[in-house]
């Protein structure tokens, strides 16, 4: 139906497309370490050695783990398998609360203790009016 030239151009495009996709896939695969925005507490447990480098740790704020004192906030980040203690002094975002997602940026003191210099709240994908939320909680 189509001429030889049309078929040739079509195959040429397919070839370019697949080789590009493959190369970008390989680049992203090898850079995976840098593409992830944060590590989970389980990733931290698996670290071969602790480097004195700024990292981000993300997970849930463990229920009833937030302890506020006059100059410091202590809480536990958990991924429901492992957990890590975090200490931070500074302003936390409005959405920072227990049982919600959080990303802490700072330095690891050891495998169980993290000193944060910045706290980000992670929002989940659930959107609903307050009435629906309270109705869900009643059930």
């Amino acid at each position: 139906m189509y001429g030889k030239k049309v078929k040739f151009r079509f195959l040429f495009i397919i070839l370019i497309f697949f080789s590009l996709t493959l190369s970008i896939f390989l680049v992203l695969k090898s850079l995976e370490e840098n593409v992830v925005f944060f590590k989970s507490p389980s990733d931290v447990k698996l670290l071969a050695e602790l480097e004195n480098k700024k990292i981000r740790i993300g997970g849930m704020v463990k229920l009833s783990s937030i302890k506020m004192s006059s100059d410091e906030i202590n809480f536990i980040i958990t991924d429901f398998k492992n957990e890590i203690n975090v200490s931070y002094s500074g302003i936390v975002p409005n959405l920072f609360s227990e049982g919600k997602g959080v990303v802490a940026e700072g330095y690891l003191k050891d495998r169980n203790f993290f000193e944060a210099s910045k706290i980000l709240a992670k929002h989940d994908e659930n959107y609903m009016p307050p009435e629906v939320k309270s109705a869900l909680e009643d059930n």
Binding site: F17, K39, H123, P129
Partner: protein, 235 residues
């Protein structure tokens, strides 16, 4: 092939369509804005800042959709040697760029009160910034190259590079840990967004799509008039 796409016949339709699309756009936008800003409820957690989402998400969707269309048109244009496809692609690009900027800026405005930061180098946000750069390069290529055959080939190549980024934007939130939340709307499973919030989102998406169509028609008519005036360059 594509003999029905004669510039005079197209111009007859596209020049008249503009005002109807304009009226429809204003109508849908005003319904959408009232729904999004007044009638829809506030969120249980982010309260009123959820309203930014009604601009942010449609903006992102439309910019991704337009880039995909541009790629499809450029590839078809290249394979079938059809100039009209390239002109349609060129006329679509500006509104795609605008909505890409809208998504980035509103995302930043939402990020400050919600996450606690204006910007984060996470996979979703960075890949969206890369899409913005591809839009810029694409539009610049049309400006820089005067030779028609050259500009068709170069813009097609740019779209092939850029389209690989589109699935990366879509699935970045599933493949890697990101600060950006995963998608709330799923075609196959139940959406995690309440119906009272989904409705304004759909209306606003329709409004933005109509706006893109409007800008496209204006740009495309200009291109057709240019061809007519030159009298040499045919579709």
């Amino acid at each position: 092939m594509f003999k029905f796409l004669e510039p005079n016949k197209i111009f007859l339709i596209t020049s008249k369509a503009t005002k109807y699309v304009m009226v429809l756009f204003i109508l849908v936008l005003s319904i959408g804005l009232v729904e999004a800003l007044v009638l829809s409820p506030q969120d249980y957690k982010q309260s009123h800042s959820v309203r930014i989402m009604y601009v942010h998400v449609p903006g992102a969707w439309i910019s991704l959709g337009i880039f995909s269309s541009i790629t499809f048109l450029s590839l078809s244009g290249y394979i079938f040697k059809n100039k009209n496809f390239f002109l349609i692609a060129k006329s679509l690009a500006p509104s795609g760029l605008v909505f890409n900027i809208v998504a980035l800026v509103t995302g930043s405005i939402w990020g400050k009160p919600t996450w606690g930061t204006w910007w984060a180098w996470d996979a979703r946000i960075t890949s969206m910034l890369i899409l913005f750069l591809f839009y810029l390069i694409y539009l610049l290529a049309w400006r820089i190259y005067q030779n028609k055959d050259k500009v068709y080939k170069i813009t097609t190549l740019i779209t092939i590079f850029g389209i690989i980024n589109v699935p990366i934007i879509k699935y970045s939130v599933d493949w890697w840990n990101t600060l950006h939340q995963p998608a709330s709307i799923n075609i196959l499973s139940k959406s995690s967004i309440h119906s009272s919030m989904l409705f304004p989102l759909v209306i606003m998406t329709a409004a933005f799509a109509l706006f893109s169509l409007l800008i496209f028609l204006m740009k495309y008519n200009t291109e057709l008039i240019k061809i007519k005036n030159k009298g040499l360059d045919r579709l």
